[in-house]
Amino acid sequence: MEALQSQSQSNNPNPIPIRNSLPSSMPLWPTIDGPLGLSEEESVSYARRFYNFGFALLPLLWAVNCFYFWPVLRHSDSFPRIRPYVVRSGIGFAVFATLLCSWALTFSIGGERLFGPVWDQLVMYNLADRLGLTSWS
């Protein structure tokens, strides 16, 4: 772990003026914004926070986590401190999305044949009309 950490720290911005000496497979910046984004230390705390908050039924936060730390995800041996969080966020998002899509598709394709009269109560436009959600005044 120590060795890995020291290796990751060597990826940190260091005052070498020539950029192309670095192998292209090692990204410098953990975020997709590159130099405009976070540094590595901040990234660890942000990745961890996004991962933890995603458990509050927020799969979109997991997706944003994966998008934001895309370089970490893409290069499999970089930033070992950030990578676990991002990978787990990705897996979580994929699982959640599969479940949600399957439920939504079952609902919309199955329709009343599958659900019976409950369908009419659950579908959104009826619910909106019933609760008066779209009336303006």
Binding site: P15, R19, W29, L57, L61, Y125, D129
Partner: protein
């Protein structure tokens, strides 16, 4: 001068690459916002125009009905817009007061709350309209889950200091689109009167010495703080050969030639919530769009391999801040999501005029996005011809404002020029061009 500078660095690039890129990066989101509002308006308003108008603060004085005479409508619209401007002025002064007493945290929380309301409630309303229009068989569980996700991530993206720039910019555009769509639902005369009134207010508030926005800007400068506000900041343009590894920390500067130079050296480089850094790159970018910053400035040393002379010389200028805020309120639409209604929920979005960000990238306030989109949305309610004319007029106005920004190097109101041109072209198109085009088409002459 900018030309020679860029040419010494990259002889193959021209001023179009730097200046053009900067301008495109601010015009693209404005265009996208307008485009989305036009689409929403044209999709959702195909049913008969309903009489019932939205009860909001903009119709506080008078509610327009189709049976009123023209003069009544005109008077009513004037009263409405006057009331609206008065409320906006009062709220801006309250904002100045709060900022003066350093209630920044309260302001930030309140704005996060209003962003949540816009994304959650307005976004929910618009998506319900769409669902009803297309009869999508979506169930309520999925809908509420998606809406909740969208709203929460949006609030985090806009108010957390560091999130993917693309996500933040996307959410700002969406917020602008939702509020603009809401405003297009106002009665017609009120909308036009409100646009004119807001343009005049913007002009007065930013340029007059007693204007609340100017006071806010001066307060922010004197304290070197950033105003908590909703503002779109374009990504700074990267000019080639700057190695980002050389500059880890963000350097922001402001050249205070008027004030004493001791102030200048005392401030440290402190990275703040803008998410944009590397001012150096922007130093070489388009001539006068540089420099201004309302954040802490850095000592003028240690700039990597940026040419210091060019930095001091002409690029960094101006002493006024770039941030102006125009609070936009809209008071409780009696939208009734039953128990969730907050009777007097006023959204107070702090929006800023046009200015220069801490990295020299262009900043445009969300209020400008909103009012441009309202104008184009209203034009879309008439016909697409007016949409094209108004769009071109607004972009031209924005270009003129950017040029003025480059010329005067201080915060400028972005509304007046564009709204004036937009209104002019809307009425000209409606009165003159349409007749011409229709007659030409009918006689199989052209079009």
């Amino acid at each position: 001068m900018a030309q020679t500078q860029t040419q010494t660095r990259r002889p193959c690039s021209s001023i179009l690459d730097s200046l053009g890129e900067e301008i495109v990066r601010i015009i693209a989101p404005v265009s996208i916002c307008m485009f989305l509002v036009v689409i929403l308006v044209s999709v959702l308003n195909t049913e008969s125009p309903f009489d019932a108008s939205v009860a909001s603060i903009a119709t506080i004085a008078y509610t327009e009905t189709t049976s009123d005479s023209t003069w009544d409508k005109f008077l009513g619209a004037l009263l409405n817009s006057l009331a609206f401007v008065v409320v906006v002025t009062v709220v801006t002064f309250v904002l100045v007061l709060l900022f003066y007493f350093r209630c920044t945290r309260f302001l930030k929380l309140y704005m996060a709350f209003s962003a949540f309301v816009v994304l959650g409630f307005l976004g929910g309303e618009v998506s319900l309209f769409l669902i009803r229009h297309f009869s999508t068989p979506l169930d309520c569980v999925t809908f509420f889950l998606l809406l909740c996700n969208f709203a929460v991530v949006g609030v985090l993206a806009v108010f957390m200091s560091k999130m993917a720039i693309f996500v933040t910019q996307g959410y700002l555009v969406v917020i602008g689109m939702l509020v603009a769509y809401f405003f297009t639902m106002l009665p017609e005369w009120t909308t036009w009167a409100m646009l004119v009134a807001m343009a005049l207010y913007d002009l007065a508030a930013v340029l007059l010495p007693i204007g609340p926005l100017r006071l806010l800007v001066e307060l922010a400068i004197s304290r070197d703080e950033e105003i908590p506000a909703l503002v779109y900041e374009a990504r700074p343009v990267n000019h080639g050969n700057l190695d980002p590894r050389d500059v880890v920390q963000r350097r922001l500067w402001r050249d205070r030639r008027v004030e004493s130079s001791t102030h200048y050296s005392n401030l440290n480089a402190n990275s703040d919530s803008d998410g944009a850094n590397l001012v150096m790159e922007s130093a070489s970018s388009s001539a006068n769009l540089n420099g201004n910053s309302n954040n802490n400035t850095a000592s003028s040393g240690s700039y990597g391999y940026r040419n210091l002379v060019s930095v001091e010389e002409g690029r960094v200028q101006g002493t006024t801040d770039s941030d102006i805020s125009v609070p936009l309120i809209d008071r409780g639409r009696n939208v009734l999501i039953g128990s969730l209604e907050e009777g007097a929920s006023s959204e107070n979005l702090l929006l800023e005029g046009i200015g220069l960000g801490s990295s020299g990238a262009i900043k445009l306030g969300l209020g400008d996005f909103i009012f441009y989109s309202v104008l184009v949305g209203r034009a879309a309610m008439y016909d697409f011809m007016t949409v094209y004319a108004c769009y071109l007029a607004i972009i031209a106005g924005l270009g003129i404002t950017l040029m003025l920004l480059a010329l005067y190097q201080k915060a400028l109101p972005a509304l007046p020029v564009s709204i004036a041109l937009g209104l002019l072209f809307y009425f000209l198109t409606r009165l003159l061009l349409e007749v011409f085009v229709v007659q030409c088409s009918l006689n199989l002459l052209l079009f």
